[in-house]
Amino acid sequence: MKKQNMFFRMITASLVRRRSRMLVALLAIAVGATILSGLVTIYYDVPRQMGEQFRNYGANMIFLGAADSEGLTPDAVERGLSYIDANKLVGVAPYRYETVNINEQPVVAAGTDLAGARATSPYWIVSGEWPAADGEVLVGEDIADVFDVKAGDTLSVSFTPATAEATTAAEGEDAQEETNGIEMTFTVSGTLDTGGSEENYIFISLADMEALTGESAAYDVVELSISATQNELNAIVDSVTENVSSVTPRLVKRVTQSETTVLSKLQSLVLLVTIVVLLLTMICVATTMMAVVTERRKEVGLRKALGASNGSITMEFMGEGMLLGAVGGLLGSILGFIFAQAVSMNVFNSSITFKPLLIPITILVSILVTGLACLIPVRSATDVDPALVLKGE
């Protein structure tokens, strides 16, 4: 008991009396620990955060109607969606295509959930506004050029129920039902620039599409943007295919394949950077600790001359170093989390996931590194004859 008391007294006294030097050592350890916990947190969170950025490329899965079924009804889509984790679902946009007439010229109109389309296709550039209410239309740039319309203009769209040349299968069912053409006037809310075939379409809400065609048919295709790895996506495809017979899920290969390639590169970049930085930082911490301890060779000599055993001297120095390591590690893991959070807010505008396990790991690594760094100079000091050490040679 008494011996232990003395041990602690010696350690605390040494820490308090040699305040400035201990502060230097503590700072070094805290910096090392900050880098450790900060970088590892970032490394673990980067795939998730970057994965979300990759959703900029748009839909990575589509639902098609299976050949021999009632088609892609809202109900079937709902059932298909139930196999996808709602947290990972970035956007869902159902599309229903019909050929309509503007000034007697045929144009493809897409009825969609415009909020969903905006989520699945973040790369669409709209000059003007996205349609907010029914009765508004988003016009592809090519169409806008042809008919010379811009945001704010009105566009009169007519639909003649298909007779012989039914344009979609869904519509074919009602082909016999002869109705006169319906004409509706839409307000152009904006024009759409995508660099793709979307520029030749007009986009209206599903409700408008129903009003225009006078019927509610099944969707032609549903675009989904899911934040998941290729394996998870394959699993979703399998379970939807198996459980929902009327839906055929397909992966958009161009997006999923490329995402896997690029994301794994980015991840290994951050991993390698983390390893290099950690390695160098830990060596830096160790050399600083060594410098601080080497300075006290005289003290080691004096204690030896007073009859302390090598073991007890090593124990004391190690105890001191490890205590510093623990305090520095704790400080560092907090600072590291704050840093990682700042990075995440700045880069990705979202908060980082807190990994509780990282705190004990950081503290442990700090203790190990400082302990080892103390051990080397103390060993070399205790190995030497105290008389020589005290004399300063």
Partner: protein, 429 residues
């Protein structure tokens, strides 16, 4: 005398000085590696993002508006074409160096043996091109359709023996028509009939699964459109768009001369499109937003992430170095006390200590730069499979930061020691 003292300190305290030099070298190598990686990461990631395929499409002017619009009638109207002989000019524009790949396309409809009509696209696969500038280039859809899975057979290669007489078949079409790699396929149009060897079956995961891909010449012969192209896909390294680029994309005429110069001489996707339009007669080049926009977002994020990680490691390295320097200066309180006791002036003591530390720092810094070069190359080779370009700018940055950090670490410690009274220091308090 001054130099003798310095030399003495450096050589006699070899171990200690080596440790300081070592730590400074580590810090310098960390700074060098991170700064170089950070400055090059944009280019590297941009290069990686090319796996998403072309980010610019070029179509004939008259066509861009009418084609898709009237296609719904079922009648194929291709009134205008691009000229094949102008293709090489794409590699002569101002940003030619940024054009990674490009490939021409011509579409036609052919009839198979069983009477079914399928779409045949003629293009380059691995085309060898001699440029007007004297350079050579291999380009084609092998790179632009990176995501294709070759389910059986191989990629078509025009440069291989008999390559030009081959055809690649989409997986859906192959399944429906019972075609497998190695078969011979007879395709015909009203302009002629050809026997083509099936080189490979691909899975593109899209509309392309229902069609055929052949070399450009074959598709042109089958559609009687020699020397004509219906579109060109271009994959270019671009700078993320900003306000200026968006304004210019709408109308380059609205810019002032200075803005125009700046826009034209920056690799924005819109300025590259503009330059392509200048060299290809009657063409409209437009960015594929899906690729161009997303590329910008991802590159911005990656660069910002690397900048912040670099800052953290630089701060860490700086603190590490200045800490060690402080510790090693404080350790010498006895020596400084002694020097003061025998009458040395404060300024000459600081001079000696600083010179010692700085010469150690210079040695460490130079070693660290080369060590950092090695680390940067390890990162470059492991992650991207290519060397990281070493920027000259990094050398002064690292040199200045090392000097500043070493001074910042030693001066306060020296001043503190000088304030102490020699007798007390020597007494060991």
């Amino acid at each position: 005398m001054f130099f003798r003292m310095i030399r003495g300190a450096l050589f006699r305290q070899k171990g200690k000085m080596l440790m300081i030099a070592f730590t400074i070298a580590l810090g310098a190598s960390l700074a060098t590696a991170m700064l170089n990686v950070m400055m090059d990461v944009g280019d590297k990631v941009n290069q990686e993002l090319k796996t998403y395929g072309a980010n610019i499409t070029v179509v004939p002017k008259e066509n861009s508006v009418l084609d898709e619009l009237y296609e719904v009638d079922g009648e194929e109207i291709q009134s205008a074409y691009l000229r094949e002989d102008e293709l090489g000019k794409i590699k002569t524009i101002f940003w030619a160096f940024n054009i990674v790949d490009f490939s021409p396309f011509i579409d036609t409809t052919v009839t198979l043996d069983n009477g079914s009509e399928v779409k045949l696209t003629g293009t380059w696969f691995n085309h060898h091109l001699d440029l007007p500038t004297g350079e050579t280039l291999n380009t084609g859809v092998t790179n632009l359709r990176n995501w294709w899975d070759i389910e059986s057979g191989v990629w078509l290669d025009e440069q291989a023996a008999g390559g030009t007489q081959g055809v690649m078949v989409g997986t859906q079409l192959a399944k429906d028509a019972g075609i497998s790699a190695g078969d011979t396929l007879t395709v015909s149009t009203r302009y002629g009939k050809k026997q083509l060897a099936v080189v490979g079956i691909y899975n593109a995961g899209g509309d392309e699964d229902d069609q055929l891909f052949s070399s450009l010449d074959i598709a042109q012969a089958l559609s009687n459109t020699e020397g004509c192209l219906s579109s060109i896909e271009v994959s270019a390294l671009t700078t993320p768009d900003n306000e200026l680029a968006r304004k210019a994309a709408k109308d380059p005429g609205s810019l002032s001369i200075a803005q125009y110069e700046q826009w034209y001489c920056t690799a924005y996707v819109s300025s590259i499109c503009y330059q392509i339009q200048e060299v290809i007669t009657g063409s409209i080049a437009s960015p594929v937003r899906q690729v161009a926009e997303s590329e910008g977002a991802i590159m911005d994020k990656t660069e910002l992430l690397m900048i912040l990680i670099t800052i953290l490691s630089l701060v860490g390295a700086a603190l590490g170095i200045s800490n060690l320097v402080t510790a090693s200066v404080m350790e010498r309180s006895n020596e400084i006390g002694l020097l003061k006791a025998i009458g040395a002036k404060d300024s000459s003591i600081s001079g000696i200590v600083l010179t010692e530390i700085m010469s150690t720092a210079v040695i460490g810094g130079v070693a660290g730069y080369f060590l950092g070069y090695g680390f940067a190359q390890i990162i470059g080779q492991t992650v991207f499979g290519s060397a990281i370009e070493m920027k000259l700018m990094v050398i002064p940055i690292v040199a200045i930061s090392i000097i500043v950090v070493t001074l910042a670490g030693s001066i306060p410690a020296i001043r503190m020691l000088l304030r102490l009274r020699p007798a007390e220091v020597l007494h060991g308090r």
